[in-house]
Assembly symmetry: C2
Homo-oligomer: 238 residues x 2
């Protein structure tokens, strides 16, 4: 349509390209609007102008919902494979529906495949991190076996032990005899060390030592965990 037939290939002249974009964008938006209205369907159209500005059309909220589904995958288990399935259908559909004598099929195909891979990858990643979180934040009612419960306990205990040892290690480096209550009360006069992170830690240890003492009182068994430590263990208060 138009005075002359225009070959479908990139327009070289920048001004012409911009003009054509403006005109055809308007047309495409109108067509999209008409189709979505006539057939009462959800439709979204996203494009970037030659100067890379975003232009968007969407008929309903469905497309946003699809994006939300992408994002909310962890929460909405039942919709997890929705997209993957529709993309699979699409690969077939595209070859059927897109009957233009241009070598676009391949590009579309590989785009879709990349998208599918990405979705798969993300689903795997999600599954992994969900499992990881379950290890830490278990719902005790949900346990189905004692082994599971024990694995959880072991995991928590080892993390806890690691943290406790770390603190114990830091305390022992900060004063020569941190194992007695006497010496723990003396740590208020320390000089912070050079290393920035440790300096900050040690600057807080006067407060921390008191907290630790109270902590041990609350949990009499707790200090026993420290006995596995390489550094001097804190003694149980009598």
């Amino acid at each position: 349509m138009g005075r002359a037939k225009l070959e479908i290939k990139p327009i070289q002249k920048s001004t012409n390209r911009q003009i054509t974009y403006s005109k055809r964008k308007k047309g495409l938006l109108k067509k999209a609007y008409e189709l979505s209205t006539l057939c009462d369907i959800d439709l979204a159209l996203l494009m970037f102008s030659p100067s890379d500005r975003l232009c968007l059309f969407s008929s309903q909220t469905r497309i946003e919902d699809v994006l939300a589904k992408y994002i909310n995958l962890p929460d909405q288990e039942r919709e997890k494979y929705y997209l993957l399935r529709t993309l699979e259908q699409l690969k077939t559909e595209n070859d059927m529906a897109f009957q233009i004598n241009e070598p676009r099929h391949e590009a579309i195909h590989s785009d879709v495949e990349e998208l599918q891979k990405e979705v798969c990858r993300l689903q795997r990643q999600l599954q992994i991190s969900e499992e990881e979180l379950r290890k830490f934040e278990p719902d005790p009612v949900r346990f189905t076996s004692m082994e599971e419960m024990e694995a959880c306990e072991t995991h928590l205990l080892s993390t806890l032990t690691r943290v406790v040892h770390r603190r114990e290690h830091l305390l022992s480096r900060s004063c020569e005899a941190p194992s007695t209550q006497q010496s723990m009360e003396n740590i208020e006069g320390w000089e912070p060390e050079a290393e920035s992170k440790q300096a900050r830690i040690i600057a807080n240890s006067a407060y921390a030592s008191n907290q630790l003492r109270r902590y041990i009182c609350w949990f009499p068994s707790y200090d026993l965990l420290l006995q596995g430590s390489n550094s001097n263990p804190t003694q149980t208060p009598k």
Copy 2:
């Protein structure tokens, strides 16, 4: 175009609607292809057929990148606000660009706003869950204060205690005197209870009781944690 002028409003007859969809979909895809080729732009088109089947077109990989950005938000901090920004631009642009005498502007506007809210909500949610995970999986070297370290320990300990109490509770419900080694060896003859979850748990407790005994040997201080439990505490083996 066509024998008669067609009003742009939802087609009532299902068959006609389906026919019009097929025809206009093809046309829209062609237009989208032509525009994206002529102007060398990134373009994506997503639509759902009247029977809710997905049809997609995309000119390059850009749109997938945008989706990937949505999805990868947690990983790619620097691109976190890209979409939000472009959506902001869009709100202005839409009013300018979409010059059709139809009351679509408002709908588009509110769609965009919803999207923006969704993005904000997800960013908040992400931040929260990241913090939550840090509580569980701390890098001890990263601690900047003793309070932080202690908060972490308390958190781990309370989770651990919760799990331990839960197990203790289940064991005590499953046999009358779970506190002696003798009675723990007798639990192999239990009748599983009616409740499905608990039934599964209890079916495993013969094995579990042995595991627990070994566990207590490995961590002599561990059973002391149980003393805060409401149910009968497990005794420390002598």
